[in-house]
């Protein structure tokens, strides 16, 4: 762990100003990931700007009928908020599929989006890692890669993004509101995280000094036909090998709109709008679901330990679409898969 200075910010403007003037500064909120990474010497921020006292902990209605979740709303507050449970149960379910009650009580909405990969090598400064130290190499590609990506990888990095919440937000087409030195802007969730490409050290499109103020959920009705299906190496408290968030709008016998996002398979929540359109106007059927799954995974690439994820992802997509279409979402407490 390194020495660092600490500032408790009293306003968003102050937080932005202080962060923008110091390239080695990091915001800290729940600290459930950053402090671990500091203990491992993976992150060595010279300055921590504590944002926990900023007024960003409300969930508000938006003018357009959606919800705006403040960046400091904890994961448990978001998951158990009656408006979220009622109108966005997919989000609630995804949050409850992750971590533990203790972690969710501390972790925040903004911090969840910014958590870093769980790649073994990234976490171990005794090994090379392009994400941690650009240019040192990616031992995961030829090493142990059970938990690594099968979509959107690059020769420099095959890490995944570990969030469950972000997968649901991708399916719900949430918007991330940020404030920075140049003012406010809104980033669609799908553009918030990036693929590793030539710069795996950069996880998101957030610019230095920008702070997440809220995540906005647009008005939509996916409260009946949805599911969050998470497959992992034990029945709870593990990151996803593959997870699937599905939100469907069903009109009569046909699927009018389909949203599908995958977790655990890429450097960002993975969506494939083209595959989703294969469902539009069609009744639910396993054959069609399988075609969607094949389309999403057509460019997937497996490595020595994780090639199984391609087949597993297809099976998970089919099951998740079946659950959503039937209106029988996956329970996050009963570990039997419906």
């Amino acid at each position: 762990m390194n020495r660092f200075s600490y500032l408790r910010a009293s306003s968003v403007d102050e937080a932005v100003r202080e962060a923008a003037s110091d390239p080695a500064a990091r915001f800290i909120a729940g600290g459930t990931n950053l402090i671990d990474l500091m203990k491992y010497n993976v992150e060595q921020p010279a300055r921590l700007i504590d944002i926990t006292h900023l007024p960003l902990n409300q969930i508000d209605e938006t003018d357009s009928g959606g919800l705006r979740i403040g960046a400091l709303v904890t994961n448990d507050e978001a998951a158990y908020d009656p408006r979220v449970q009622d109108r966005y149960p997919l989000l609630s379910s995804a949050i409850l599929a992750g971590a533990s009650a203790q972690l969710r009580n501390s972790a925040t909405t903004g911090g969840n989006l910014l958590q870093r990969t769980r790649c073994y090598y990234f976490y171990d400064p005794g090994t090379p890692c392009n994400k941690r130290e650009p240019g040192t190499g990616c031992p995961a590609a030829t090493g142990r890669n059970r938990i690594h990506a099968i979509l959107g990888t690059s020769e420099h990095c095959i890490a995944t993004h570990p969030s469950d919440m972000a997968v649901a937000l991708a399916a719900l087409e949430a918007v991330v509101h940020v404030t920075g030195p140049d003012g406010e802007r809104a980033i669609p969730l799908s553009d918030f995280h990036r693929l590793p490409g030539d710069h795996p050290e950069i996880d998101t499109t957030l610019r230095h000094g920008e702070i997440i103020t809220a995540v906005e959920l647009p008005a939509a009705d996916f409260s009946r036909n949805y599911t969050y299906l998470k497959l992992r190496d034990r029945l709870s408290y593990a990151f996803a090998l593959v997870s699937v968030a599905v939100a469907l709008r069903i009109d009569g016998d046909a699927i009018a709109e389909a949203r599908l996002a995958l977790g655990g398979v890429a450097h960002k929540p993975w969506r494939d709008p083209e595959a989703e359109t294969l469902l539009h106007g069609h009744p639910a059927s396993e054959d069609r679901f399988a075609a969607v799954a094949d389309h999403i995974l057509k460019d997937a690439r497996g490595y020595e330990d994780n090639a199984f994820k391609i087949d597993l992802a297809k099976r998970a997509i089919i099951r998740a679409l079946s659950q959503a279409a039937a209106g029988t979402p996956q329970s996050q407490t009963d570990k039997r898969i419906q």
Partner: protein, 745 residues
Amino acid sequence: MQQTNAYIGTPQNRVDGRAKVTGGAKYAAEFEAPDLAYGIVISSAIAKGRIASIDTSAALAVPGVLQVFTHENRARTAWFDRNFRDETAPPGSPFRPLYDDKIVYSGQPIALVVAEEFELAAHAASLVRVEYETDAHMTDLDLRRSEAYVPPKKRSNVKPPPSPRGDAEGAFAQAPVKVHAEYRVAIEHHNPMETHASTVVYEEDGTLTIHDKTQGAQNSQSYVSSVFGLSTGQVRVVSPYIGGAFGSGLRPQYQLFLAVMAALELKRSVRVVLTRDQMFTFGYRPLTIQTISLGANPDGKLVSIMHDAIQTTSPWEDYQEVVVNWSNLLYHCDNVKLTYQLAQVDTYTPIDMRAPGAALGVTAIETAMDELAYAAGIDPVELRLRNYAEVDEADKKTFTSKELRACYQLGAERFGWAGRNPAPRSMRDGRELVGWGMASGVWEAIMQKTAARAVLTLDGNLEVASATTDIGTGTYTILTQIAAETLGLPMAAVATKIGDSSLPKSPVQGGSWTAASAGSAVQNACLSVREQLFKYARQMDNSPLANASIEQVMFADGRVCLMNDPNAGVTFAEAMQSGGVERIEAEEKASPGMLTSLRHSGYSHSAVFVEVKVDEDLGRVRVTRIVNAIAAGTILNPKTARSQIIGGVVFGIGMALEEESMLDHNLGRFMNHNLAEYHVPVNADVYDIDVIFVSEHEEMLNPLGIKGLGEIGVVGTAAAIGNAIYHATGKRVREYPITVDKLLG
């Protein structure tokens, strides 16, 4: 005769339970000392080579940093290997921390940064720069298999495989029913809740009081004394509570060496606590490749058993455990060939982990027996009964007791095994395939020479003491029960002191031997106190016991009285006052009976029955029901005993489905070195576990009939789960853990 203070065999709460849940129980890293300094260990990033340079200047420049110890400035220590060899060390040259510039495994400790504060030490550690010269390493057992060898020197207390009997190859070739397969169990690390830690208190007179996370206070004491050239009088190890160990605390670990060295050099108290990732930088359950060939007649009777194992060890020690002997111990067969070999890889030496050897060997043989049951078309329980070993055939001894048959019967009844359709994929519950599987378990009933002291005082309180430890097993409680019952006192009047090297001599706690060994020693010490007490009671003026022999009296409620006339008696206090003593003290030993062990073999046994539900499309396994029937002689405390078995079974769930230390062979390094990625079962993975203690009369091993329970719960559980998964899915997975990729692949 019903005694008032009859505690043996009754369910009792843990006597240390309140201290543990209220924070009163202190663990190694929780002891304070004046001017305590803090050490942080720096671990090697490479697996093999040498340290070309180590630059500690930036770390030393941090105000508050006291010293950075490396191979360049370490203290002088003992010269001979024997000085580093602890009581459980396998043959070889023990690892010496900071000995020289050579790197022999990834994660090896290469420096200790000591500072006034923990945070300063952690910060300074991040400033140490190390340059390595790298040599080629090898951690892949498959690539070292051809160089496997029979260990030239046997490890003490580990039986090599018996000589072959009959003609196993010939009988196998002729056998009408055969199974031949290779089985693997992944490397596991113990991962107790408490990470390894040592707080070394540098006393004013220069002696050391050490709070060490250890399974043997005296083992740590003698290691420290001999390595650093101190007398045992200068070193006291006090470890009253251990937060789990599972074998990882059997050998003194490197944090102890480093903390002692720093304390002696700096002449002040030092604490060193390993991080969770550093818990992956010493011993582990070795990777084991087993090959089993079973030949049988159509009726399932075995005509040939061949069981071969190859295990990893380090280049500097020949770690050994009993892996293959169990096959013939469980099953009668006239043609048997068992082999056991080691292969060296560039990791630390493996170390015993809960049911060492048996957890691996029995997993393989019990999976193979399930395969044989299907090959022969015989029910798995019936197959085991047809091959039931009535005697220990390898050693030509009879069993001291063996109620395994009752385990099969009672376990099967409780589970409802009779309703099983043997056909794979024959049971279903919605989208889940349901499978029922079973396996046997076995573990040796071991006793080790142990001493204990009992002191009865005039106030009616009894203190019993032995240097043994309690690693969470319930030792405090059962020793208290034995002492209270032997002397006829309420448990509340008995104080049990353990985990202190200054107490009567005890071996490390391990091998499931502590209850039998320390329990018998405590009983003997209390019996000796009884005799003295009785002597005083009889010598009293007008003693109602004047004409009685000790066999005719009983000790209950703080009185000694006639069995056939309980009103005729005296209180302990009256007897002691009459004898003019304020305390009665006795120290006694208990040892395994040599005559018994020449003629008899002592083992505990179990039968595990498991139900799994497997999602047909997604391969997700839920272990929905387990019945484990245990025959282990006298069950001292059914409540703590049940917890012991449940813990063992959960360990088995981990082995079956989750636990795997992933080695990156390119780097020679374990990679999933945290509890997020090294998976042990969580609450959601554990459904119903039903423990049955089968009545087993044992009188040969020790007077109380104790066999021990620490290991037996894990043995067989993984195989029973694997067998249930086969029954559910029709897929035989021979590499544990059985993860989703293996089920769907």
